[in-house]
């Protein structure tokens, strides 16, 4: 039933991140580590179809890659101090390969993987480079899988990753976990990358389909891995909670014909109760950690609390909108953005009537920050429709349809314009 190449590809997908992480600690160079990992994969592709997949494929790949690293060091003609030291270190290690193997297989793996996560998400890289590099090195996705996910040509992703590795090398970014002082900011960068990936899958900004659930699963998986690596950080659990809860609704967000279904109209029996349970559990962990420190909820935890309110409401009518509005107010304070303000306006409209919501939306329009964001006119149109101002609503939906780059969403907006 299974094709041997699929079996080998599955092993690679599982082992690649740890392999790169272990090699990066050795070579101090993420780019070189990836090359060595790729080389080991090539050897595996030659040998495993003949010899069979080894019992411990991770160890086999690590040994193979390290052997190539040692060879590379011995042949290095550059006599600079770094290479001499490295070759010395590697010679010392090669005397105890078994020990080195044990190193790679126990909890050092966790530390190395964490170093890899922080490095791939380094703020010196632009966000899209961080995303591509993280998906490749931490998510174990192939370049073509990443390209398909973002509806971008494969060479573009290849270049993005290449340039990212070069930037890290040129900036001499050390392969390490950030020190206490920098940790919060660096962690925020990691969470942002994961959130960007999830968001892209959740409401795909371009392309024919409205969602790409595979990408949501990739983000969720990396988030869960991170929670295992950094279990004492509340915002990590907050992000996991937010993603689990958002993912719980994926099946209900599209009708059979692919049309998007808004939250208020979703069949809640289609929400994945297992993911809801997991999300609420992660949120509880975040809340415990925050309470223990006497701190306050961070932005991901707040968003997860909002998502939890929706998850707990048996029907759309049962939603506690005033509480959600209060949470958005808190969110606007700790992570201000016009998007948060827009979401607050929606919640206020639901809690206190469309007139109240419209006041806030009009302030946003006047502000100009969301001038090209399609959801601003969409929300305005919805509030106007509720106030019985059909002609104005239609104009807003038409404007929103012009602004969105997603075909499915455009169709829904045009339909609302027609029905206004």
């Amino acid at each position: 039933m299974t094709d041997p190449h699929a079996a080998i590809a599955a092993v690679f997908r599982i082992e690649f991140p740890r392999l790169v992480a272990g090699l990066a600690r050795l070579t101090r160079d993420v780019g070189r580590a990836e090359e060595l990992a790729q080389d080991a994969l090539v050897v595996a592709l030659e040998r495993w179809p003949i010899d069979g997949v080894p019992d411990n494929p991770g160890a086999w790949l690590m040994t193979t890659a390290k052997r190539r690293a040692f060879d590379g060091m011995r042949h290095a003609r550059i006599a600079d101090a770094k290479h001499v030291q490295l070759a010395h270190d590697l010679d010392a290690t090669s005397r105890d390969v078994a020990g080195a193997l044990a190193d790679a297989l126990d909890d050092d793996v966790g530390d190395d993987l964490l170093r890899l996560v922080f490095t791939a998400c380094h703020p010196v890289l632009p966000p899209e480079a961080r995303v591509a590099l993280t998906l490749r090195l931490v998510g174990g996705l192939t370049t073509s899988e990443i390209a398909r996910a973002f509806v971008v040509p494969e060479p573009t992703i290849g270049q993005r990753i290449f340039r990212a590795k070069r930037t890290l090398a040129e900036a001499h970014v050390p392969f390490e976990v950030p020190r206490a002082g920098e940790r919060a900011e660096r962690l925020a960068s990691v969470l942002e990358v994961i959130y960007l990936v999830f968001n892209e899958g959740h409401v795909a900004t371009t392309g024919a389909s409205w969602m790409r659930p595979e990408l949501c699963n990739d983000a969720l998986r990396i988030a869960r891995v991170l929670a295992g690596l950094v279990p004492d950080e509340p915002e990590v659990h907050g992000l996991v909670a937010l993603l689990e809860l958002s993912a719980s609704r994926l099946a209900a967000r599209v009708a059979r014909d692919g049309t998007p279904v808004l939250l208020a109209d979703q069949d809640r029996s289609r929400w994945d109760r297992l993911l809801v349970r997991r999300g609420l559990a992660a949120l509880a962990r975040a809340e415990e950690l925050v309470a223990a420190r006497g701190g306050s909820a961070g932005p991901y935890q707040l968003q997860a609390m909002i998502a939890a309110h929706h998850a707990r409401a048996a029907t759309a009518e049962a939603t506690e909108w005033p509480r959600i509005a209060a949470l958005y107010t808190l969110l606007a304070r700790c992570a201000p953005s016009p998007i948060v303000d827009l979401n607050l306006a929606v919640a206020v409209g639901m809690a206190f009537g469309p007139g109240a919501g419209l006041q806030l939306v009009d302030a946003l329009v006047a502000d100009g920050a969301l001038a090209t964001y399609h959801l601003l006119p969409a929300v305005r149109g919805d509030l106007l429709a509720k106030l019985g101002r059909g002609d104005e609503a239609r104009a807003e939906f038409e404007r929103a349809a012009e602004l969105t780059r997603n075909e499915r969403e455009r169709a829904v907006l045009l339909a609302r314009a027609r029905d206004s």
Partner: protein
């Protein structure tokens, strides 16, 4: 894709001692590996059939039968629900499962995608609710 992993044992195998500490530790570490890899959604160990019950259905008749079940050739010992990219990945994870006490079988079955099943009348219900929205002609 969601995949169910079932640990299956032979209930009539020669009576074994309860699982050793080593075996329990190996199982615990394996479950930890699944969780650390971000693929584990849920898991559970089932108590022996002697603590269970079967309900046999025949037409409208329901018969409750206490375990153990001498005629059963297989027994589910535990389950894990995984989120993986494809079946090949699930197989690779299953191969890494430690074997508790001699021979065992792990069965992997993908779950049905719930969105494949239309709840009867769902489309009509949604269209009705849309039509009732305020502000519509």
């Amino acid at each position: 894709m969601k995949v169910m992993m079932l640990m299956i044992a032979n209930p009539h195998a020669a009576p074994t001692a309860p699982p050793t500490e080593e075996a329990l530790l190996a199982m615990h570490q394996y479950n930890e590996e699944l969780a650390k890899a971000g693929v584990l959604l849920d898991l559970g160990g089932l108590t022996p059939p002697g603590q269970g019950v079967r309900i046999h259905y025949s037409g409208t008749k329901r018969t409750v039968i206490d375990g153990p079940f001498p005629e059963a050739k297989e027994m589910v010992g535990g389950y894990a629900l995984l989120e993986v990219k494809d079946l090949a990945e699930a197989i690779e994870w299953a191969k890494r499962s430690p074997v508790m006490g001699g021979d065992a079988t792990v069965e992997i079955r993908p779950l049905f995608d719930p969105s494949q099943f239309d709840v009867p009348g769902e489309a009509e219900e949604r269209a009705k609710r849309q039509a009732e929205k305020p502000g519509k002609a």
